[in-house]
Amino acid sequence: MSELDDRIRRALARQAGSLREQPDLDGLTDRITRRDRRRIRVLSIALVLALLAGPTLWFVTGRGDGDARTDVASGPGGDRVTVDDASSPLPTMVLGGSGSSGSVAALGSTGEVLSSLPYPGYTGPLAKAFVREVDGTTIRVYRAAVDPPSSAGPPWWEPPPTCFPTGYVQADVSTDDVVGIVAGGLYAELPDGSVGGTLGAIGIAEGAPRWVVVAQAPAGAAVLRATFPGGHVDEMEPIDGVAVLVGRASIEPDSVDHDASASLEALDGDGTSLGSGTARSDVYGLARDEDSHTGFTASPQAACFGPQELPPPGEEQPADPAAARAEIEQLFGVRYSDMTDDERLARLDDTTGMREVYDQLVNSSGFREQVLGSRTVFHDLVFMSATQAAVEYETEIPGYPQLAFGLQFGEVVLVDGSWRLSRESVCREVRLAGISCPPVCTHSYPQGASVLLRALPDPDDFNGFSGACAGTDPCAVTLDQNRAVGAQFGAPKPPEPTPPGTPGPTGTTGPTGQRAAAVAKCKRKHGKKRKKCLKRARKLPV
């Protein structure tokens, strides 16, 4: 033990030993009784208010594209589905959809959910956190009411807390001229001595630009200060660790600087700096900038790219691990062999939207040669349960050594007695080729809640709902059990979403959806064309 350790121990022991406090059971009993009385009083008041006010809606959403630089008022329209009526948690509704617009930035009315969900956007319910008025600008701040979905890596991998946001803040900013949304992520932990922040700008097209920073303060910060490009400074006392700062900006519509940044500083109550940072529009993982010691950089950290080893085995293992292992090795080995799409889909646990994904991956000339020529080097696997395993492998692509991805990890699950590739892990892999799987969004509502879904397509671009809804009219779904709804914009076949926890269908369009979609499409035509079209559509099976 060092002398310093010893001195610390002695100093603490001496100080603690000087205290002569005795337990006070009566005092504690008093406190408990007082607390109980207070609770009963608060509960009574809440009950009276609830009776007077009746049920209220708490689902309030409206969002940008998840990127910070969102110019809502002038943004493109786009395909989206609105949820007009919803309240708090329980059964799950799945909104499966595919849309041509991956980045929607239209001003959302209350209760709007985008059908197309670009990461790291968040489409779950929001809870109002606070309102700030500054210089004629009103900022309404909402926070994610449930944890945002993470597409960070395998479900069993726990990335460092500074890699991916675990929370979401959305600031709806309105001035006399414009309304805009800037969103940012919240991290489980900030690097020591740093401040996290995302920079956005609103009102560029309207000629009334404002910088907006959504910032996460370190623990103990009493003030957050932002210095915007151009030198304007704004300060705010963080509320629950969050501050939204605005500043005057001078940005011409044609000269947007996407590398702009604002410097941030956190101060404690005495004005001492607790940390600093830089708010950028493309934050991806927070890493301390070790060279300058002045905050964090926005560049990805090596540790954020993925796990380095398999997870520990689960308590339950398959009855015959050797046989299971052989089956999984075989499954992995042939996953990109030359086979039909139906054969590929049959190897997946959930086929939602995957036919289109395989189309892009295997049937397009860009990737076909590489994909079919690729070879899987199977390293190892671990059974996380009797029905789920994580696999470590590498992919070799002869002739393309530059495409070596290093160690990769995937998951397989046991469905109806046979091992299948998990859709999620296939989607992670195809993302390396720049292909995105159609999003599957889930939301939870109270048992029995009625939710009205309405499609808001670009003109004449909606082909219909599928799953628990059909046709193109607004559709009411009663959530007496888990429900799945798909919405298809701008493509011929509505997707068939898969309810959570059940194996997926084949991925083809259900007959009800096909007919409804075809009829709906015909209704937009006129005269003879409409009649002919309807005749054809009605021949489709119900």
Binding site: D5, R14, A16, D270
Partner: protein
């Protein structure tokens, strides 16, 4: 109502798992927790108050908490942290300062520990006085074990300055 009766009346009968009664646990751990809070706040009165409040919170969850000592330790550390934050905010808003009577240590090392930022101070107290492991400190502070190492490292660097 005496605490023993209150505890029994307001909570379902526990399955006998060898867990002490709430009152016995209170008697056994109160001195240790008060000392911990004292080392973290520097005030005996505040320490007593915060620890009593932590026991009230624990009483609510008594039969659902598997590790009451760890739960309580975290609760006390959090309460002391919240206390520090409140003090700072009060100072910032220039309200008449709340008189927080701090017992002076009359010892350089004690004063140096008291001057550390809260999380560093808590990490030092839990490590050197309480004998907690890094994992336990991480759990009490609500951070990752790696962060604990860094907190202690920086605190020791600061405390080394008062060594002769």
């Amino acid at each position: 109502m005496p605490l023993e009766e209150a505890a029994v009346a307001s909570t379902p009968a526990p399955v006998d798992t060898g867990k002490p009664t709430f009152a016995d646990f209170y008697r056994a751990t109160f001195p240790e927790m008060t000392r911990l809070a004292y080392l973290l706040t520097g005030s005996a009165e505040t320490a007593r108050d915060l620890v009593q409040d932590s026991f009230v919170r624990l009483h609510d969850k008594w039969h659902g908490v598997a590790e009451p000592r760890a739960y309580l330790r975290r609760s006390v550390v959090n309460a002391c942290h919240a206390h520090h934050r409140r003090l700072r905010l009060q100072r910032r808003h220039s309200r008449p300062p709340q008189v927080d009577i701090v017992d002076l240590g009359a010892e350089e090392m004690t004063d140096a520990i008291a001057a550390l930022p809260y999380r560093q101070r808590a990490a030092i107290v839990l490590r050197f006085w309480h004998g907690s492991s890094e994992a336990e400190i991480a759990s009490a502070l609500g951070c990752r074990p790696g962060t604990v190492g860094s907190l202690i490292h920086r605190a020791l660097a600061e405390l080394r300055k008062v060594m002769p």
